[in-house]
């Protein structure tokens, strides 16, 4: 289900070019509009569809076996922290979905680890990762070890 661009809506801003993980959304040098240069390498990941400020990109079914005539529209809003989907079927049925994309105000919840207190020598020599064992959130005990599980596991490649 590769993407395609409504050329009347596209203003050639290049947001889709910037975001496409497959690097297949390009700007046509003559028309100055975005287009999918290689539909076969499109994963239908919707990154460009969500990134397009003009809602000019849509995704179609495979030409050889999927029926055409549907549409999947999406509006992703980081400020509201939501993503809204509108799916129109060929027979006119319409479905709407609204989901959260984050529970925190966008861009505020992740600390800069260069600024947190540095790990102590004791933690450096332990088996713990950042913020463990606190973030394992176990009331009793910390990181599980083979010893306290009473286990010996095979090490390395043994077969």
């Amino acid at each position: 289900m590769p993407t395609f661009v409504y050329m009347t809506r596209c203003d050639g801003c290049g947001h889709c070019v910037d975001i496409c993980p497959s690097d297949i959304m390009h700007i046509d040098p003559t028309y100055r509009r975005a287009y999918n240069i290689e539909p076969n390498m499109c994963w239908e990941c919707y990154s460009c569809v969500k990134a397009c400020p003009q809602h000019a990109i849509d995704v179609r079914g495979y030409a050889d076996f999927a029926p055409l005539g549907h549409s999947v529209r999406v509006d992703r809003d980081e400020r509201k922290g939501t993503i809204a989907w509108r799916i129109k079927f060929r027979d006119g049925t319409e479905k709407n979905f609204l989901s959260p994309i984050t529970t925190k105000p966008w861009g505020t919840a992740i600390p800069k680890l260069a600024e947190v207190p540095a790990p102590s020598e004791e933690i450096r020599n332990s088996q713990l990762l950042y913020n463990e064992p606190k973030w394992i959130r176990m009331d009793e005990g910390g990181l599980r070890t083979l010893k306290d599980a009473g286990l010996t596991l095979k090490q390395g490649v043994y077969y």
């Binding site: 590769p2 910037d18 975001i19 496409c20 993980p21 497959s22 690097d23 539909p39 076969n40 499109c42 994963w43 239908e44 990941c45 919707y46 990154s47 990134a51 495979y62 050889d64 076996f65 999927a66 992703r76 980081e78 922290g81 989901s99 959260p100 994309i101 984050t102 529970t103 925190k104 861009g107 919840a109 992740i110 600390p111 800069k112 680890l113 260069a114 540095a118 790990p119 990762l129 950042y130 913020n131 463990e132 064992p133 973030w135 394992i136 959130r137 009331d139 990181l143 599980r144 070890t145 083979l146 599980a149 009473g150 286990l151 010996t152 596991l153 095979k154 090490q155 490649v157 077969y159």
Partner: protein
């Protein structure tokens, strides 16, 4: 056309590939080396790259140890059975015991995780999966990586690791090119973390036209993880199991969704239902059984008791019943139907 050569020197930690693994590596590296120079080289745009570019509606591995749901060793047993014993048990255990704190970290960062309103536990889809609203999974972890790295190079496809001139068998950096401009990039680094992707589209599918080659996995996985490491002299292990996730018509799930929702089975070239054939043998753990039994509280985790029981138990029978096609005996050779 004049291509430039751009050299980035004095890097302490270079992260090659910023998917979910590479972004996490950059984040964790920043904590342990707060004054180090951390650089990320990513083939696409870090905000939407890797296998989670489009988001994900589940976290496929969460122990739930804090609620007594699973312990790391339970996951080792599950993976050993699932992969016919060809697993690195030590690595599995280590990943399993750290995964919970990673998931709690994601929740802290704002990833919406669905919860059971009654218990307050994460809502499960299966024994290991939890359900999330994961549309922005990748942008969220990308933000963590961007806040951790000194520099992020987008659109750089790393092609080779550089070997140290003076010290044998040591990687000293990487080279690659910008997929847009063609500029040549040289990264000189004390450490390189390879978080590159696997390989998609190795096998040619039977389908034709636009449906051909539609794998569930990302088409931009160009096997860098293998190519970089093999060329640098790394020994490849754990390559016995290959996961080839074909997609089925009108769906976006991998074929594994068939097993989950439609209760199908798989068979090998001999027509054997190999999972049930080898299941009893695989149930015998590598470590001592008694040690495991003492750590597994059956009252807290009822399925552990059911799984540990001999294969003739009710759970096994139920499993077999659900899988056997009408009119066939389990283990009876069936014509190879393809997959």
């Amino acid at each position: 056309m004049a291509y430039q050569t751009i050299v980035e020197d004095n890097i302490d930690i270079l992260v090659v590939g910023a998917g979910l693994g590479g972004t996490g590596a950059a984040w964790e590296a920043r904590f342990w080396g707060q004054d180090k120079k951390i650089v990320i080289a990513e083939k696409a745009n870090i905000d939407r790259s890797g296998a989670v570019a489009q988001g994900l509606y589940a976290i496929n591995c969460y122990m739930g140890t804090r609620w007594g749901e699973n312990n790391p060793e339970d996951h080792v047993r599950y993976a050993r059975i699932d992969l016919m014993g060809l697993v690195r048990e030590d690595l599995l255990f280590d990943m399993a015991r750290h995964v919970d704190s990673t998931v709690h970290q994601f929740e802290e960062w704002g990833l919406p995780i669905m919860k059971d309103p009654k218990t307050g536990h994460y809502m499960r889809e299966g024994r290991w999966q939890i359900m999330i609203h994961g549309e922005s999974y990748k942008p969220i972890v990308a933000e963590a990586a961007k806040k951790s790295a000194d520099k992020v190079f987008n659109r750089i496809c790393v092609t080779h690791l550089l070997m140290d001139e003076s010290r044998p068998n040591r990687v000293a950096g990487a080279v690659g090119f910008n997929v847009r401009t063609g500029n040549y990039h040289v990264f000189k680094s004390k450490t390189v973390i390879c978080g590159a992707g696997g390989a998609s589209n190795i096998f040619k599918p039977r389908s034709t036209g636009e449906g051909a080659g539609r794998t569930w996995y990302a088409p931009w996985s160009s096997a860098s993880a293998y190519g970089l490491m093999i060329n640098a002299g790394a020994k490849m292990t754990q390559m016995e199991n290959r996961i080839v996730l074909a997609r089925f018509k009108d769906g976006y799930g991998p074929v594994g969704a068939y097993f989950l929702h439609l209760k199908t089975y798989t068979q090998n070239a001999l027509g054997e239902e190999y999972e049930s054939k080898w299941f009893p043998a695989l149930q015998v753990p590598s470590a001592s059984t008694s040690a495991r039994a003492t750590t597994t509280s059956s009252s807290r985790r009822p399925w552990c008791a059911a799984r540990a029981a001999p294969p003739t138990s009710s759970s096994r029978a139920r499993r077999a019943k659900g899988r056997a096609a009408p009119g066939t005996r389990p283990g009876h050779p069936r014509p190879h139907t393809g997959s």
